[in-house]
Symmetry: C2
Subunit: 343 residues, 2 copies
């Protein structure tokens, strides 16, 4: 496999991106192609001379950089020689098998749609992400924010793509799928959730019904399905709450000498809790539903995150997930689900 | 003020309800009228003989009980002699100033609409709730789940009613109002949030713009405005995550003798954290937008929660919040907001 890495995307580019790539080469044999301003990338790579197999990392020059301040669609249209546009174009042309970027999320989504294109039959590609569960196996959330407004068929697509990714890439067999709703009964919720429930029930995925947000926090299902607005709220609220509770704990733990002793005794255990909540452990977020394997990393990704995104994202390409999603869509059409779902 | 208390609603009725009422009489001088099966309530009340001023608590008989298994609308229509229907009817007729119930939420909402009726100009009454902020002052969330689907005008109503309640009942002057969205920029989000943003900006409330769920967890605004679907997700996810983190901490703290010593040293501080997350501290959730003061308590309310709901809910009645909301709606109409908001 040839992994294309956006050398210029994210808050810590290019150094942490390159460091992560170097670290990944210690664990995989695949080729990593770093795209970006050649001089800058080579300068950084030189710092690791002798610490990695030089045949395994290549650099492809791209003179422009898409930043977080750029308007997504405009950036994709005008910055033709940016690392992001170049990476996506190389996926399209088959010069690479997986593209990973910590850059502008909107631009990466727009670029994936415009340059690589949707899988036939998928109306709305989604961003999906591993959702950490404290004291349990992580779930997988689709859509995490790409589509603020959805139709029931979109949620069926999310559920199908999420199941496939969860099973083939994350390795959870026959994953359970839950629909986020404000009540467990079939008749609860909004027009969207009620109609989506009917579709999901008819599909071949392992649908367990509506799940309430309270139970999502406990890991009630493997794949969490919702529209991108709700998904984004779930993801960001979890992040905010976890950080806030950890901050409060830190304050509690350092408030006076007795508390400090108590905290010192608990330190190793607390590290375990913190690591369970750490998104860096889980790699990046795949864009699902486009005709190529693209992974979005957190904007503040460091080398550890880059390394994990490469290693954990590799099966997205080498398991041929795009083809499997394509086949599943055809299957959905065959069993008539798509026709019934127009709303 | 005459407080009407549903003696039969919730998992711990009637005992905890009555115990809470007795405890409340130690702090307020207002009359409490407990509605329910007379014999059962008097039996329980007798246990507190001599421990409260008997002139302060009265019992009104209601032969039927609405349970959580009852279909809300049907229950309100058929169980005419239930404690809930009787309480709402007494609010309507002016025989009581505040009705508090831990019973079937859907039935309480439906009953409030059918029996008491909406405030003129309010399209969608909402359930609002105090939202605990770790290490900060609590926020106030509207809508917490009554309306799964909303129009922009509904969100304007929620914001207006929430501001009034936050200022007059909870006592936060000139409260800031934030619109839950998946990005801070005015142009981000769904059709609903974009149109709601425009309305909120034109209103007289202290609108601070879009707020992301991450910042909601930190208490970024006093009043959190969103549709009932998103509000319910926020509320329940917070509950689930907080419980899950506390459970994990408990496990960490009891895992081996060294951890136990550490935990013992931290115990007083940890209690503080737990109490910040405890909904029982904050009283019940007001139904806003109906022509009477109605408060919903958590189904699992104990005496402490009942006591707090009575004491903290009292200003809902004695500050004449219903009239203030009515005046605000007229004001909104006068400044032409209502007309612009039809979508």
């Amino acid at each position: 496999m040839r992994i294309l890495l956006d050398g210029m995307g994210g808050d810590n580019a290019p150094f942490e991106i390159i460091k992560g790539a170097v670290e990944a080469t210690h664990e995989i044999k695949d080729e990593i192609i770093i795209i970006g301003i050649e001089d800058e990338i080579n300068n950084e790579l030189n710092k690791f001379k002798g610490k990695y197999n030089e045949n395994q990392i290549k650099v492809v020059h791209a003179s422009e950089v898409i930043t977080n301040r750029d308007a997504p669609v405009k950036a994709i249209r005008t910055k033709k020689d940016s690392s992001m546009v170049k990476g996506l174009t190389m996926i399209k042309s088959g010069e690479g098998d997986l593209f990973i970027s910590a850059g502008n999320s909107g631009a990466l989504m727009a670029g994936s749609l415009f340059i690589i294109g949707r899988i036939q039959g998928i109306d709305r590609p989604a961003i999906a992400t591993v959702y950490p569960i404290i004291g349990g196996k992580p779930s997988f959330l689709v859509d995490a924010g790409a589509n603020a407004e959805c139709k029931p068929t979109n949620l069926l697509e999310f559920a199908t793509m999420g199941s496939i990714y969860m099973e083939r890439v994350i390795g959870r067999s026959n994953p359970t799928v839950g629909l986020v709703n404000i009540g467990e009964e079939e008749t609860k919720g909004s027009t969207l959730t009620k109609a989506s429930y009917e579709l999901l029930e008819k599909s071949r995925i392992n649908f367990i019904g509506n799940v309430e947000a309270r139970d999502v926090a406990y890991g009630v299902c493997d794949v969490i399905v919702c529209d991108g607005f709700v998904g984004n709220v779930i993801l960001k609220l979890t992040e905010g709450l976890a950080l806030n509770i950890l901050r409060k704990l830190k304050q509690v733990f350092t408030d006076g000498p007795i508390a400090k002793i108590g905290a010192a005794l608990l330190l190793p255990k607390m590290k375990e809790l913190k690591s369970e909540l750490d998104y860096k452990e889980y790699g990046g977020a795949p864009i699902l539903g486009v005709k190529g394997a693209v992974i979005k990393m957190h904007g503040s990704s460091d080398a550890k995150c880059v390394r994990n995104s490469i290693i954990k994202g590799l099966p997205y390409a080498n398991q041929n997930i795009v083809q499997i999603i394509q086949d599943a869509v055809e299957e959905l059409e065959e069993i008539g689900i798509s026709e019934q779902s127009g709303i």
